[in-house]
């Protein structure tokens, strides 16, 4: 524990630090006494100490022990899989096999056994320990079979360059076959040479050039962290290298903003698509649209719960199963609302607005009563977690999936409206109800199905949005205003307009946000739309011809 601070109490802080220093030294002597190459139960037990200094030295000792079990133990500690058995204080590594947690003693070569939750306690780690772990695990995993692990290790070396690691990096480079890992290792080598003042001027400036060529913000951080005499030739070279990287990063920044904009646009598109049907095509000012999205998200939550009960293996496909279920649930609720309320209010838009707003409050409170007010946990399948690197920008999988999904949905809805009988009926009824009726179309039934379709699409959007938003009763409220904005801006009744509207708003927001901030971006967008509507009240792509009347 470090003393809480204030300059007046400096002596006390100092004494605490001295005490910890002594502890480190004690730890070091303990290590010297430990049998070389061996891993002792005592060392493992020290990982469970409350004093972080002791744990830190224990981590270093275990890494240095050279035991094959060391990496396994340290990985387990990092991943939160290291437990202490209450009865005898023995450290156990847990592995989850088919939904059952198996515990085994890393020092004994026994197979794992299941234990009751009360018999073991998790060994907790803090950031400080986690940092120490990342460093030693990286140095231990350079000869791993898995290129991803080696790549992560090389990355770690760039982040914390250390001249002591140079030799290990050189050795690893000799027989590294994977190009990606090779490049990372080369940068890591340059990083450790550049940040080592003991290296020759020539070697260091060569390393600086290699870092400049890497062009990443990681390399930039290494360059800025170098110990260099001000005004030396190396310093000039370094500054030039930083400038090169800055220019490179600035270019990528534009690409990144564009990607962020597309991503935000796809979220808006997804959220607004259902409304494009209920409001855009049917003309119902549907304030309960957001709640349909929320119901879709809750359906995902329920589906995941049910699937988990059947088989944990189904978790990976739970989202795919939730899609049709959410469509049906939200669609049926939509049909029910249309039959009971909206049907009676078709010629009275203002009353529709109030009634649907009331419905939205009722739905929210119903969900709150049944599921509770707190957020519900929707799992992310492993294929949607994480990100990939594209040049100097990060593309997260869940955002990419939502972009693709939104476009596929849009295509499906357009096809449905243009190519199917139902679509034909919907368009006929919205264009001229009387005429459609006299041609034998049951307009009443078409209204019901259209509203159900719009609600169902909102439900499907909810499944996707459950991956990026909080699944709480208020989920829908966050999207309703944006959805209306997209529809009105894009042009009521035009799905293509919805696409262009969503993307324009998304990209504009993301381009404005970095310089002006999120609050100002929001305000600016609203002002922009208000002015825009003054000049083009029917939006970007207005309905033409008779349908417009």
């Amino acid at each position: 524990m470090v003393a809480r601070s204030d300059p007046r109490r400096l002596p006390r802080i100092l004494s605490t630090w001295l005490a910890s220093l002594v502890l480190i030294l004690l730890g070091a002597t303990a290590f010297a006494a430990a049998p070389a190459g061996g891993l002792t139960a005592e060392q493992l037990q020290r990982l469970g100490e409350r004093n972080l200094q002791v744990v830190e030295t224990a981590v270093a000792d275990i890494a240095a022990s050279g035991s094959p079990a060391a990496l396994e133990v340290l990985r387990a500690l990092q991943d939160g899989r290291l437990y202490r058995r209450e009865a005898d204080g023995v450290m156990l590594v847990a592995v989850r096999v088919g939904g059952v947690q198996l515990y085994s003693d890393p020092l004994a070569s026994t197979t794992g056994e299941p234990l009751a939750e009360a018999e073991v306690t998790l060994v907790r780690v803090s950031n400080r320990i986690r940092r120490a772990l990342s460093a030693v695990i990286a140095s231990l995993s350079l000869d791993s079979e898995d290129p991803d692990v080696r790549f992560a290790a090389a990355r770690q070396f760039i982040d914390s360059p250390d001249s002591a690691l140079l030799e290990a990096i050189e050795t690893a480079l000799v027989d590294e076959a994977d190009d990606r890992v090779r490049t990372a290792l080369e940068v890591a080598r340059a990083a450790s040479i550049a940040s080592d003042p003991g290296q020759s001027e020539e070697a260091r400036s060569e390393a600086v050039d290699r870092l400049a060529a890497a062009g990443s913000s990681r390399a930039r951080r290494v360059l800025l962290g170098m110990f260099i005499e001000e005004g030396s030739e190396l310093a000039t070279r370094r500054d030039a290298a930083v400038e090169v990287i800055d220019r490179n990063l600035a270019r990528w920044q534009q690409v990144q903003n564009l990607w962020f904009g597309l991503s935000l646009g796809s979220v808006l598109l997804l959220a607004a698509m259902g409304l494009a049907i209920t409001f855009g095509v049917m003309g119902v000012i549907n304030m309960a649209h957001g709640e349909m999205i929320m119901i879709g998200a809750y359906t995902t939550f329920v589906v995941q719960g049910v699937l988990r009960g059947i088989s944990p293996a189904l978790a990976e496909v739970s989202l795919l199963i939730a899609l049709p279920v959410a469509f049906l649930v939200a669609g049926l609720i939509g049909v029910f609302i249309e039959r009971t309320v909206i049907r009676r209010l078709y010629s009275r838009p203002l009353e529709t607005l109030l009634a649907t707003w009331g419905i939205s409050l009722i739905l929210q409170q119903l969900v709150r009563t049944f599921f509770g007010a707190s957020n519900q946990r929707v799992e992310t399948p492993s294929w949607l977690a994480g990100s990939m690197e594209f040049g100097q920008i990060m593309i997260t999988y869940n955002r990419l999936a939502i972009l693709i999904f939104a476009l596929v949905m849009l295509a499906a809805v357009i096809l449905l409206l243009k190519k199917t009988a139902l679509g034909l009926h919907i368009r006929a009824v919205t264009q001229n109800r009387k005429m459609a009726e006299s041609m034998g179309i049951r307009s009443d039934r078409v209204d019901m199905l259209t509203f159900g379709l719009g609600s169902g699409i909102a439900g499907v959007a909810g499944v996707a949005l459950s991956q990026i938003a909080n699944v709480s009763p208020n989920l829908g409220q966050g999207y309703i205003i944006d959805s209306f904005m997209v529809i009105v801006f894009g042009g009521v009744g035009n799905l293509f307009g919805t696409l262009v509207g969503a993307m324009t708003l998304g990209i504009t927001t993301q381009l404005v946000e970095p310089s002006l901030g999120a609050v100002a971006a929001k305000v600016l967008i609203l002002v922009f739309i208000i002015i825009f509507i003054q000049f083009r009240p029917r939006g970007l792509f207005p309905q033409k011809g008779r349908a417009a009347e």
Partner: protein, 429 residues
């Protein structure tokens, strides 16, 4: 209905009559305790649990024989997360239900909304949430943390233990983050942090698209100095924020985020994976190993019938506040508002972290400061705890506007914003 035994109805009546008769026979009937927490609307997520803990405390007190030999009767109203409704419901509690004390509010704006009502009708309000300070009212007792009991110690921890030199102050755009960040900015500058090493960012309520902000934080953090984010981001916007951090590969080891509004209750319903290792500063964590806390948790789980129900900081604040009020009423021998307000100052009751909380003359209390790291199971691993209890400061000494202001509700000052320079009450606007 045939299946109801004939005598049963009669017996129920007799019990009811006896009960009514029994209360009528007691001194002046039950003491009424108002509970003013949102049970619907956006704030229900946080406030419902505070109603539950109050009901538990009241039930326990009744089992011990009530207060002054009188039973306590909870009066629960639902202000529905609607600020003007808070004022209406407060008025209803004080003038229709004639409650003797009110425990309630969460957001600062709801507290500000009820202040005039409590002043006008002379009630007592216990406010259990950490807040921005710059206030001290005669009718309000602040059992949550003032900035000097949460924000400043959190920043100190990052500076000393994590060696942080660059700061992102990220918050939701409303009064609590704005004031807290103003205090923190002044404090950091006073500690020698340069302008360029502080990045302040505000986002609207419920912000869900964190892509560009996280990317900016990442860039800001890649300048070779250790960087941390001090987050006053409000409840719901937090999860997408942490998720985006994890997705963009920002780990807690690289850029830790310390939050002032993320507690066990908020973590209960979410996938904690992306949050592991990030920090929170509070005055209480459920994971505290003290005997007081273990006993409290046992009672709480028994009361709710749910062994997984979480406990959090504002709950402890209500626990302390309620016990202080009971102690004050028993010391004063009356529930009379003015007497109780005066008696409360100096009252000491045990908190759940093993110390004694004291009500100070400025109507704030003494608290320990704890720093915890979020764990996979939604609990906090306590990595630092202040050695002594820190007294709450109503007026920050780091803000130019409130440097000379103090609050002291004892005579002769008896003022919530006394200017020590001019010696007058009403020194701050």
């Amino acid at each position: 209905m045939k299946f109801v035994p004939k005598g049963l109805l009669a017996r129920v009546w007799i019990v009811c009559l006896l009960a009514v008769g029994g209360y009528a026979a007691a001194d002046e009937g039950p003491i009424r305790v108002g509970i003013l927490h949102s049970l619907s609307g956006t704030m229900a997520i946080s406030e419902t649990t505070l109603r539950d803990v109050m009901l538990m405390l009241i039930e326990e007190q009744n089992r011990k024989g009530g207060v002054l030999g009188r039973r306590l009767e909870p009066v629960v109203v639902d202000p529905a997360s609607d600020w003007p409704l808070f004022a209406e419901r407060a008025r209803e509690l004080l003038s229709v239900h004639n409650v003797d004390v009110v425990f309630g509010c969460w957001t600062s704006v709801s507290r500000k909304a009820v202040l005039p009502v409590f002043r006008e009708l002379n009630g007592i309000l216990f406010y259990p949430v950490q807040y921005e300070g710059e206030e001290s009212e005669r009718n309000v007792f602040y059992t949550g943390a003032a900035p000097n009991q949460q924000a400043i110690p959190a920043v100190d921890y990052l500076r000393e233990v994590e060696g942080v030199e660059r700061w992102v102050l990220a918050g939701t755009d409303y009064v609590y983050p704005r004031t807290t960040n103003r205090i923190l900015e002044a404090y950091l500058k006073q500690q020698g942090v340069a302008d360029e090493d502080i990045l302040i960012n505000y986002t609207p309520f419920g912000h869900s698209d964190w892509q560009s902000i996280v990317s900016r934080i990442r860039q800001f953090g890649s300048r070779g100095k250790r960087t941390a984010v001090v987050s006053t981001i409000n409840g719901d916007a937090n999860v997408p924020f942490y998720r985006e951090l994890a997705n963009q590969g920002v780990r807690a080891e690289d850029i830790p985020v310390i939050a002032f509004s993320v507690g066990e209750e908020e973590l209960a319903g979410i996938n904690t994976g992306p949050l592991v290792g990030h920090l929170a500063a509070w005055n209480y964590f459920q994971s505290l190993q003290t005997p007081e806390n273990q006993a409290f948790l046992e009672r709480w789980h028994a009361f709710t019938g749910d062994a997984r129900r979480t406990a959090n900081d504002p709950m402890e604040a209500h626990y302390i506040g309620f016990n202080m009020w009971v102690a004050a009423v028993e010391a004063a021998g009356t529930t009379d508002v003015d007497t109780v307000i005066d008696t409360l100052i100096g009252i000491q009751v045990p908190n759940l972290s093993g110390g004694m909380a004291e009500m100070l003359p400025n109507h704030h209390i003494t608290k320990p400061v704890l720093i915890g790291e979020i764990q996979e199971d939604g609990q906090f691993f306590i990595v630092d705890q202040s050695e002594e209890l820190i007294p709450g400061e109503a007026w920050s000494s780091y803000l130019p506007g409130s440097r000379n202001i103090i609050a002291d509700w004892r005579p002769p000052i008896s003022c919530g914003n006394f200017n020590t320079e001019t010696g007058t009450c009403g020194g701050a606007q």
